[in-house]
């Protein structure tokens, strides 16, 4: 069992929460881009080439303000620099993924990272194609959401308000699974304290990178010498 359809059947259930979350936050992105005066097809171009939720939302504002290119790039660097921390914990896992590696690195969003750290490829599926299919499904949901929002965002009669809570719930569930598996509360407690402190000190816009850097530094201090 290694045909692509059977890989998709195994990978799809893992990605369902991301399907709902990405459609829910992709639609407002597409709608905002069109409302800023840009053609609908810029939405899928951005979702294919950039594939970063917060980054793409911020880019709309930068385009609308006609920000200088250097400013745009520095902003993207600051918003996305957290990905370095993610990569550090996936170096081993991505060693044996073969031709999927480049795409897996490219498509490492918060949500795909969260799922990939929690899943193990079934014995009958190559890890590379299992992880790669999860990543590809996630990006396809994001592209789909942004196109629907750009083309039909204003026609959607019902409110999606609250459906993006699926991503919050996804992180809660994955955190609980991590705690069950490792039986070790300390790393999560460090993350929680750093995040609350960073939110209080730096506000919603800057908290993520501050919390992750602080959390990584404390982890190294308390666990850096243990086996």
């Amino acid at each position: 069992m290694n045909s692509s359809s059977s890989v998709i059947k195994t990978a799809f259930p893992v990605t369902i929460p991301v399907l709902f979350g990405y459609i829910a936050i992709g639609i407002p992105f597409g709608l905002m881009l069109v409302k800023a005066g840009y053609p609908w097809w810029l939405a899928p171009i951005m979702s294919v080439l950039m594939y970063a939720g917060a980054g793409q939302y911020i880019a709309i504002g930068l385009f609308a303000a006609n920000a200088p290119l250097a400013g745009m790039l520095v902003t993207m660097l600051m918003v996305n620099i957290r990905h370095i921390v993610y990569g550090l914990s996936l170096i081993e896992k991505f060693r044996g993924v073969g031709k999927w590696k480049a795409y897996l690195v490219f498509s490492l969003t918060d949500e795909t990272y969260a799922i990939l750290t929690g899943v193990k490829a079934p014995d009958n599926i190559k890890p590379g194609s299992f992880y790669g299919t999860i990543a590809l499904l996630d990006q396809s949901y994001w592209i789909l959401g942004s196109v629907v929002g750009a083309l039909a965002g204003e026609l959607i009669p019902f409110s999606f308000a609250g459906i993006d809570f699926a991503l919050t719930a996804l992180f809660v569930v994955l955190l609980m699974d991590q705690l069950t598996r490792t039986r070790d509360m300390l790393p999560a407690a460090i993350g929680l304290l750093c995040a609350v402190a960073a939110l209080a000190l730096f506000g919603p816009g800057q908290m993520l990178i501050a919390a992750l850097c602080g959390g990584l530094a404390i982890l190294i201090l308390v666990r850096g010498r243990q086996k």
Partner: protein
């Protein structure tokens, strides 16, 4: 407003910038092993990150104004309860999300 040709060029360059942040650790340690200190802590990074992301999802709540985060806390409590009892990720996520969507409609 940036003209459309400019947005496409900027999109390509911003995409490369984002890719650089994602690829950096893999390029840095493609030929040599990460330092011992990173190897010791790498398995502790995912739970730390997950806890940060949970808080990040709640960052825009205005705690000083009614209903000051009660709806989110109740919905997260339901997710935790469902997941502790049933251990079914999809049930926990969709049960919590459906409950939250109802809550924000009846409790404004």
């Amino acid at each position: 407003m940036t003209p459309i040709a400019g947005t496409i060029a900027a999109t390509v360059l911003m995409g490369l910038t984002i890719l650089a942040t994602r690829a950096f650790p893999f390029l840095l340690f493609s030929r040599r092993d990460p330092p011992r200190i990173i190897r010791f802590v790498e398995k502790y990074i995912p739970p730390m990150v997950m806890a940060v992301l949970v808080v990040y999802c709640l960052k825009d709540i205005r705690w000083t104004e009614s209903p000051s985060g009660f709806r989110e806390i109740l919905a997260i409590a339901l997710v935790i309860l469902l997941h502790a009892l049933k251990k079914n990720a999809l049930l926990s996520i969709f049960g919590g999300t459906a409950f939250y969507m109802i809550l924000i409609n009846i409790w404004k």
